[in-house]
């Protein structure tokens, strides 16, 4: 800033700072947090709902900025991330750190004032978990990094629920588990064809450390584990017949995709340029999105007293 000649070619623009907050991840956070809040049995005042979701989104964005600050060295090496604000030289590392810490503190304090202390504490823990436990400790240390990163991404629906109810019950835990267990097969499908990037950046992704065979086995394993979690939600008070029926179909398709990936070899991949892996990756996004859309639909049906009777066992 003490640059008196003013010839800096890349003065950071507002959009560069917005990019630090990972707006695409933020969109997903807003959606899942909103669903978590709306399916909760307690209605939230619309103004407070809006303000709380904003806090959760900004908190997630702040942890994204901290992650970009910490990972700027490997981001510069990988094709997918080389264009991020810090490696491309548009934002100084110190600025990202400052924005990350400031917005983290602000979002936690404001959520405590807007909603309740439990939600604020959980948001603070989420930011700590993503920025410190995942980014700083485990991402570069273990091939299970994705499982940990998945946990960080799984908190938003739980946060929404806690904003509404002030506490935790089986429903938010199952929504958490759904995203947690969904993340590894989702990300490993991507990692299979982005392997060289992670190798270059020395990030211990499973295909780099244990080979593609182990990765395929793990994709299938997690996909099997995902089924009981997905279906169990159907038997809670936020699930129902509509959710359950569609979830059965989604799980069948997902499992078939995982089995196809499981059966393939590296030679198949080279032959058709990772077609099955890309298909599984694309469908996994739809799979998760539709689960939350279904939960919203069930909440709407309940609101209008149109939900068909379905056993609530959990």
């Amino acid at each position: 800033m003490a640059d008196t000649t003013w010839d800096k070619t890349h003065e950071a623009q507002f959009g560069d700072y917005v990019e630090l907050l990972k707006p695409r991840v933020m969109r997903l956070v807003i959606f899942t947090a909103a669903v978590g809040m709306f399916v909760a049995p307690v209605a939230v005042h619309p103004v407070i709902a809006f303000a709380s979701i904003l806090c959760i989104a900004v908190g997630a964005g702040a942890s994204g900025a901290l992650n970009m600050w910490w990972d700027r060295d490997i981001d510069a090496v990988m094709k997918r991330t080389a264009g991020r604000p810090i490696p491309s030289g548009r934002v100084e590392p110190g600025e990202a750190l400052g924005i990350g810490i400031t917005l983290s503190v602000m979002s936690v304090v404001m959520l405590g004032l807007f909603a309740n202390i439990a939600a604020a504490a959980l948001l603070g823990f989420t930011i700590f978990f993503y920025a410190v436990v995942y980014s700083m400790w485990l991402k570069r240390a273990t091939p299970h990094n994705i499982v940990i990163g998945g946990a960080a991404g799984a908190f938003p629906p739980m946060l929404g629920w806690v904003v509404a109810t002030g506490g935790i019950s089986i429903e938010p835990v199952l929504m958490f588990a759904l995203i947690l267990i969904w993340t590894p097969p989702h990300f490993w499908a991507l990692a299979l064809w982005r392997n060289d990037d992670y190798k270059a950046a020395k990030v211990p992704m499973l295909p780099v450390t244990h080979g593609t065979r182990t990765t395929r086995n793990n994709i299938l394993g997690y996909s099997l584990l995902l089924i009981p979690v997905s279906l169990a939600i159907g038997f809670t008070q936020i699930g129902g017949l509509v959710y359950f029926s569609v979830a059965v179909i989604l799980n069948i398709v997902f499992l078939l995709g995982a089995v196809r990936v499981f059966r393939r070899s590296d030679a198949d991949n080279i032959a058709d340029k990772f077609r099955s892996e890309k298909q599984l990756f694309a469908f996994s996004i739809l799979y998760l999105f539709l689960h939350f859309v279904l939960l919203l639909a069930e909440a709407a049906l309940r609101g209008f007293d149109l939900a068909p009777t379905f056993p609530v066992l959990l």
Partner: protein
């Protein structure tokens, strides 16, 4: 007192300043709106409850 010539950096920074200004304005509006909600029923009776009604009895 003479001002130095307007450099184009000032134009570029203008956009950034406008955005930060709008952001701060929005923050004020949000805090004020939430305050209004919290100062009316039922939040002004039970300050710990952020919610305004119960649809279903949670178990």
């Amino acid at each position: 007192m003479s001002f130095p010539e307007q450099h184009e950096i000032h134009n570029r920074r203008k956009g950034r300043n406008m955005a930060v200004g709008l952001l701060l304005g929005a923050f004020v509006v949000i805090v004020f709106s939430v305050s209004l909600v919290k100062l009316s029923k039922p939040q002004n009776i039970d300050a710990t409850a952020p919610n305004f009604s119960t649809m279903v009895d949670s178990e």
